[in-house]
Subunit: 356 residues, 2 copies
Amino acid sequence: MEQERVDSGQLIGFTTRILEKLGVTPQDAAIAADAIVSADLRGVESHGVAHLAQFYVQRIQKGFINIHPNITISSQAPATAIIDGDNGIGFVVGHRAMSEAIERAGKVGVGLVAVRNSTHFGASAYYAMMALPHDMIGLAMSSTGPIVFPPGSKARGVGTNPISLAVPAGVESAFVLDMATSVVAGGKVSEAMRKGLPLPAGWAVDNQGGITTDPRAVFAGGGGLLPLGGTPELGVYKGFALAVAVEILCNILSGSVAGLLQTVEPGAAGNKCDHFFGAIRIDGFLPVDTFKAKMDELIQAYHALPKVEGVANIFLAGEMEAATERARRTEGIPLHEKVSASLREIGQQLGVPYDL
Amino acid sequence: MEQERVDSGQLIGFTTRILEKLGVTPQDAAIAADAIVSADLRGVESHGVAHLAQFYVQRIQKGFINIHPNITISSQAPATAIIDGDNGIGFVVGHRAMSEAIERAGKVGVGLVAVRNSTHFGASAYYAMMALPHDMIGLAMSSTGPIVFPPGSKARGVGTNPISLAVPAGVESAFVLDMATSVVAGGKVSEAMRKGLPLPAGWAVDNQGGITTDPRAVFAGGGGLLPLGGTPELGVYKGFALAVAVEILCNILSGSVAGLLQTVEPGAAGNKCDHFFGAIRIDGFLPVDTFKAKMDELIQAYHALPKVEGVANIFLAGEMEAATERARRTEGIPLHEKVSASLREIGQQLGVPYDL
């Protein structure tokens, strides 16, 4: 089926106007819209405009998100700071915090910023990638509401807690790792549920901590996701340890508390997030050109590896997303009809014409 | 079978004297011996004295390791530095580099040090844990020789590349993540081979990149290990991306080249390693006591989770190793008879009495 394609600039404009209608300042609306549409450009639809109406707009309308936050910063050392997001829009708080990390890295070589009292910030890669034009390595993490079962437990104990690391290259695409520390993110389970398909064993557990292939057992059933590794034999303890590491850097180091210990307002599950950002100046180590040439050499060496029959290429993290972005910048972003319908509807509701 | 138990202090003394006999300076020998025996204390025998004779001593004797290295440092920013290990003993180079990271963190809040031209440094956790008494978070990574197959390739392309993160707590044990980014480290495959057992599907591939359960197919057969995740369905791309991230921070950022691009002298496979170390001052974010109390609260919340039948506790990373260390500091370190025999033999060869 031919999908409707929209221009990314126009989609950013529409999203900005929607947020402005909700009372968000033009500057903050533009930041949030860019982050949201950036996910669509990179083919990461799970964090794009598909969630604008049902997720971000609703949460602002319900008052779960503070659109005029008093974002404050405290710093005890040149390379480090804590930001309190005052329950602001995650995109805006995240952008402010990553900018702070980049500024500190500019001065002393590294900047690390832990963030408390923020909300869902979309795709982690967006913030890590903010470091790239500065010739820095970027790091972004977020805690999420607990939906993952620690190994051996029969309760949710930790979030899907994504980690992103972005590293510039020369002629090749930047290396951009962006992964949930669970085997899969929650969206994959919802997708299986919609399609009526069973889950692969190793993705999820039921509410007794037993492996399940029934997607209905996971969310409404009180079950949850498994940490990366899936089973003890295949290293589930590693995925759990990575998830806890994210929780420590985001929740504990920012002066918040881990998701397990937070109380959640009814209807606001998964709203509150803490984050952790880092920027590392490459020329604090070696000349940028040398570094980028070595990155290209590494990426090309992977491409040149002999491949299993039927495999076209050995892709490095972020390469496919970069290719998708290049294509969508010229050809437009394809939108599923349900998504464009939701945008039309929210546009009508708020008096923003959807004329992309 | 009752195993011989030896006092950790005496084992450190013996190991120190062995290294001194090879010409290592007393100071460097003491550092290396402490790092090696620390692995035995924590129950991580794969990085302890079991490998002293066959691995470290032999490599020094064969001249693969430079025991009088000219370790040099260059720094372009207060928070960052590169160290060139001049092919020195990995333990000594690693200790020097982590000390440098801690010193820089003391000044500006964070210290990151990339290391080139080093050799095998044992267990990553040793260096990350050096940060703990300074009330810092410690980070240590190492690249290793390529033995892991990137997804889709039929060749080795990346090392097992371990990551360690150590975080202090209050009354609870420190959180110490220490994981290979492959499903398992090579030692597990060697163990299965010795015992004549098949491998679980998902650990390894044969030399065509096909999943294998035959341990003989892995090393001598030209096969290799799989990145964490194991299969595309269970997230092998995440493990591969983590391994490449380690390669970038260790090899590229230090000015070296990735393992895939290095030439290896015959017999010296897996000798050359690059590393990456980090130290983060907790009071650069918030008061140390506040942080530690929150860590205790988090760890205790995990312990209090309802458990699957038959599960005694939800262990956080490093807890079991800390319990083992406490026991072994008083009861001694149990040594397999083959290990004590190898120590006796190397002692006899070098004129160091094994009288523990």
